[in-house]
């Protein structure tokens, strides 16, 4: 595969070469009568070239987290905490500087490629404009870059594709175009917000394969947001499970799938339909995602949890899961009172452990 990277990429700065560092991020939407707490304290780190899955039900705050990585939240949102992309703080940064970081530092691809491109402009016009915003190139160079990027996402006949309008392309082709647009800016981080949900299953698989190849070839870190555990298993290095605006469990894909520790994670896994088990296999999690204007006290999952006790009315600490099956269990943690494992002496100890892993 030819690489669209011809000049120096966006520099990653700061300690530990983290591409994305989210520290104690809180996002709320104050309303007239109640305030919706969409994200309630999240910590997330993604290293160079790492593919990190963010899993959860609709309304768990996945997309809000993704949007905050690019400062794309509406003005009505109140954002606290820190989000650093390639070492650059996003929160409170003026729009002008954000524009440089968007696309250049971190690019985003979206759930519905059919709606993600402007129907009134050709694919070429839209790609050229985006490339021009981030790279100082001549007209011909921009065209060459665009074609190269389209080649990198394996779109047949890039020259023709540039002349097409979005309505003349299929969903899969459009998602490739959107990915190519992202790549052409040569970001260090790609935020993929359910990029395969709107696509056919076969096309889904192609896009997943493509993303994996791109991450490998370009040292591209990916924050992959999905509710599809199957996709996570086949694509990601690490996975964080979100529930009610918090990460409840996080670990390497191998560890977490081998030893799901938070009751919510286990429930989520049991809802994946399995072939050959008949009707029984269609499991679901009883109850609803909590109303985020008044989330349950303590562990937010306690109203829906089989294991809930009085202790669950208190906030649960993050506990390192000690697993017999793997020897890398240090990176795997869950926030549940019922998980027996090594309790980190403090939050700092945990994050140090995590940083060690990521470094």
């Amino acid at each position: 595969m030819s690489s669209p990277v011809t000049t120096k990429p966006f520099e990653t700065t700061g300690p530990g070469k983290q591409v994305l560092e989210i520290t104690d991020l809180k996002v709320s939407f104050p309303g007239l009568f109640k305030t919706v707490q969409a994200v309630r304290s999240i910590d997330l780190n993604i290293g160079v070239g790492e593919i990190h899955g963010l899993v959860g039900e609709s309304g768990s705050g996945k997309s809000i987290t993704a949007m905050s990585c690019l400062g794309l939240l509406p003005d009505s949102a109140v954002v606290e905490g820190s989000v650093k992309v390639t070492g650059h703080e996003i929160n409170g940064t003026p729009e002008k500087q954000l524009a440089r970081l968007r696309g250049g530092g971190a690019a985003m691809i979206f759930q519905n490629p059919m709606k993600a491109l402007n129907p009134f402009f050709s694919v070429g016009q839209q790609m050229f404009d985006v490339i021009r915003c981030h790279r100082d190139l001549s007209k011909n160079e921009i065209r060459a870059e665009a074609e190269k990027a389209l080649q990198a996402v394996q779109l047949p006949d890039p020259h023709l594709a540039l002349k097409k309008y979005p309505h003349q392309m299929s969903g899969g082709q459009l998602q490739r175009v959107v990915i190519a647009m992202a790549l052409a800016c040569r970001p260090r981080l790609l935020i993929a917000d359910e990029p395969t949900t709107a696509l056919d299953v076969t096309v889904q698989a192609q896009i997943i394969t493509l993303l994996r190849a791109l991450a490998r070839d370009h040292d591209l870190a990916i924050l992959f947001i999905t509710h599809d555990l199957g996709v996570v298993a086949s694509l990601c290095d690490r996975v964080s499970v979100m529930y009610a605006g918090e990460v409840v469990e996080s670990g390497s894909v191998g560890d977490l799938f081998a030893n799901p520790s938070h009751p919510y994670t286990r429930k989520l896994m049991s809802t994946v339909p399995k072939l050959g088990l008949g009707e029984q296999s269609l499991d679901f999690i009883p109850g609803q995602v909590p109303d985020m204007s008044s989330p349950p006290a303590g562990c937010a999952f306690n109203p829906r949890c089989d294991m809930a006790t009085d202790a669950c009315l208190q906030p649960a600490n993050k506990v390192l899961v000690v697993s017999k099956d793997t020897d890398v269990s240090g990176k795997h943690w869950a926030a549940c009172h019922h998980v027996t494992g090594k309790k980190p002496s403090s939050e700092t100890a945990l994050s140090e452990t995590l940083e060690e892993h990521n470094a």
Binding site: G103, P119, F120
Partner: protein
């Protein structure tokens, strides 16, 4: 495409026929007759009969109508009862003045209304938005003739900055005459290099144009604002933001093009509104256009003149809207068929 245009042209003919029928029936049903105007006070019964026969008013209505239509098809709009000259000549002589007024007003409405609408949408509840909103209510609420006279009072009566009425100062025609080629005085005077006449034409245009702009600007501003707000919530606009495309480019290029289609529709409709407004404005400003002509003709029961002018105004409006429809194809790639 050719088939579509042909269809639309057929449609236009049908609509014009409808307009003619309505105008014809109305003019014959309304009280008052052109005969009274022609003969003055207390004519004899004999005189009346004679005049009616001369005008063909003694014939049954359907026959009068078919006769009018058959003349029309041959390009004969009849003679004005008031001036005695062919209606076609009267209309063509005045149409330039009306077009100059409405086109210039249209130009300013778009040039001012669209950016104000965009800014109002982007900065909702800002000063621009609030002033535009208040202005739009005022603009719609104020009757056209009141506004026209208020402007005359201020800019002519009090300040004496601008002339009261007409298209040119009287002495210009004597001292600096120019050839009328297009009927647009701004263009004609420019072609002749006649700066004095150009300046005079500009000064005379200002108040009538201002009146028309004030009463229509609000509509265009509001609709641009609402369309823009809708488009800005589209996912593809979020994409542009997510890829770091500069704001101004997103608003005035990516979002504005998407609002162009509803906007074009509005511009087409606004043109009709301007033509309607021109009737009143021309009357107040003594503007020698078609609108003033129609008002006088109605007052004098000058049937052929009213019908001829109505036909031309309706035809203009329909043509503008046909052009608008064709522009959809230019703007929206999804409508273009390979």
């Amino acid at each position: 495409m050719a088939k579509y245009i042909a269809q639309r042209l057929m449609m236009m003919l049908l609509i014009l026929f409808g307009v003619l029928t309505i105008t014809f029936v109305l003019s014959r049903l309304l009280p008052g007759s052109p005969v009274e105007m022609m003969l003055g006070h207390h004519p004899t019964q004999e005189q009346i009969e004679e005049a009616r026969a001369e005008l063909g008013l003694d014939l049954p209505l359907p026959l009068q109508f078919t006769r009018y239509i058959s003349d029309l098809v041959q390009g004969d709009l009849g003679k004005s009862l008031r001036t005695g000259r062919p209606v076609l000549e009267e209309v063509t002589k005045r149409i330039g003045a009306t077009f100059e007024l409405t086109f210039i007003a249209m130009f300013w409405v778009v040039v001012l209304g669209v950016p104000i609408g965009v800014v109002s949408a982007v900065r909702q509840n800002s000063a621009v938005d609030n002033v535009a909103r208040a202005g739009s209510i005022a603009g719609v609420a104020f009757p056209v003739f009141m506004l026209a006279m208020a402007l005359q009072f201020i800019f002519y009566g009090q300040l004496n900055w601008l002339p009261l009425q007409g298209r040119l100062d009287a002495e210009i025609l004597l001292d600096h005459p120019f050839e009328r080629i297009t009927g647009f005085y701004l263009i004609d005077t420019l072609l002749a290099g006649n700066i004095e006449a150009l300046w005079s034409a500009l000064r005379h245009l200002t108040l009538p144009v201002l009146t028309l702009v004030i009463v229509t600007l609000a509509t265009v501003t509001r609709i641009t604002r609402n369309m823009m707000i809708e488009v800005l919530s589209e996912e593809y606009i979020r994409t542009s933001f997510a890829y770091g495309v500069p704001k101004v480019r997103i608003y005035f290029q990516y979002a504005l093009k998407a609002t162009l289609i509803p906007l074009l529709t509005v511009v087409g409709l606004t043109f009709g509104y301007l033509l309607g407004g021109a009737v009143v404005v021309e009357f107040v400003f003594d503007w020698p256009g078609l609108g003033g002509f129609v008002v006088f003709s109605i007052a004098q029961n000058d049937f052929p003149a009213v019908m001829g002018a109505t036909l031309v105004l309706a035809g203009t409006y329909l043509t503008i809207n046909l052009i608008v429809d064709l522009l959809y194809y230019v703007v929206d790639p999804r409508l273009r068929v390979q």
